[in-house]
Symmetry: C2
Subunit: 198 residues, 2 copies
């Protein structure tokens, strides 16, 4: 249509996370130079995904069905629930292959600065879910940030009268982490939580 | 359609320049969470641009029309031609606002490693254009890399029998460049090309 189809594309692309104006221009150029192999397939994939991907009504994960594939997977451990902030955390944990239980996606963490209150998170459904299902363990897998830990405390309080085992992720030195480059908080926590060498 | 609409989207996104798997996932998630304000508009903009944007048959620039707006702009200086490697270089030079002549986009530079030979570049049309039009100056605006300079020499040879003024971009210290951080080649060139202080 317009004279500005290109400018418009660059403008939309530069609004994406991780893309500034310069990389948006590079991406736009790369896309245009691959019209049939990239540009149209990308457009159709976007429309297809917009039509099919939805939020799972049980856990809040994104999938082409609700309940999602994880909630429906009868091979997964139904007695463990892992609470995460966002769908990308589900993906990150799934990539490890270490967890075979279920998830609950909060859709964010409490934040005074960003004005995110408990009502903005997927907490009502969490409580209903936990009341109706016999979980043996609730794993709170939130970031080790101030907001993440505030949210973890809030959830621990919320669930305190339900007599559940609530766990959190271990703190310590990350894989490949060099002591020299780690902050005192991490090293201190790793010291306090030190373990016997097996 | 498929169970894998999301994986498919992430895969396409991670093939874009400047986006690795991790940022592709972040972008995919951001897009999905803004279906109506971002995902569908982006898809439609892509289809719209795929339909309308084409390569200018005169200069090789990308535009919604051919000849492009720059080639058709009668206010621009018809006696100067600037040879660039890619459309992004046209954009970069246009952003400076310092140039009001015409362009010729080569579509790359000669490269032994990437197997790009003279026949792969937009050179035939360049020669025809220069033979048919009275240019007073040809500016070769290619990168100061080995491939860029090889291409510049090749073009200079190609045009040597046409008795034209051929110029290249000035070399020196970039704006804001700290001597400490610049390579010897740049500093050496800047020394040799030193100018009287006005």
């Amino acid at each position: 249509m317009s004279e500005h189809a290109l400018d418009h594309l660059i403008k939309i692309l530069s609004s994406l996370p991780n893309l500034g104006p310069r990389s948006a221009r590079r991406v736009a150029l790369h896309i245009i130079q691959n019209k049939e192999t990239l540009m149209r397939p990308l457009a159709h994939t976007l429309l297809d995904a917009a039509d099919t991907i939805q939020s799972c009504l049980v856990c809040g994960n994104l999938d082409t069905q609700s309940p999602c594939h994880i909630c429906e997977d009868y091979k997964r451990n139904e007695s463990v629930l892992c609470i995460v902030a966002s769908v990308s955390d589900v993906w990150a944990i799934e990539r490890t292959g270490h967890y075979k239980g279920h998830y609950h996606v909060l859709g964010g963490v409490l934040s005074a600065i960003d004005g995110i209150a408990p009502k903005d998170l997927n907490l009502d459904r969490l409580k209903i879910r936990i009341q109706n299902q016999d979980f043996e363990e609730i794993i709170i897998a939130l970031s080790a940030t101030v907001d993440g830990q505030t949210t973890a405390h809030y959830i621990t309080d919320l669930l305190s009268d339900l007599n559940l085992t609530i766990t959190g992720l271990a703190r310590g030195i990350p894989m490949g982490g060099e002591l020299d480059f780690l902050d005192e908080g991490t090293i201190g926590t790793a010291f306090k939580s030190r373990k016997n060498v097996e």
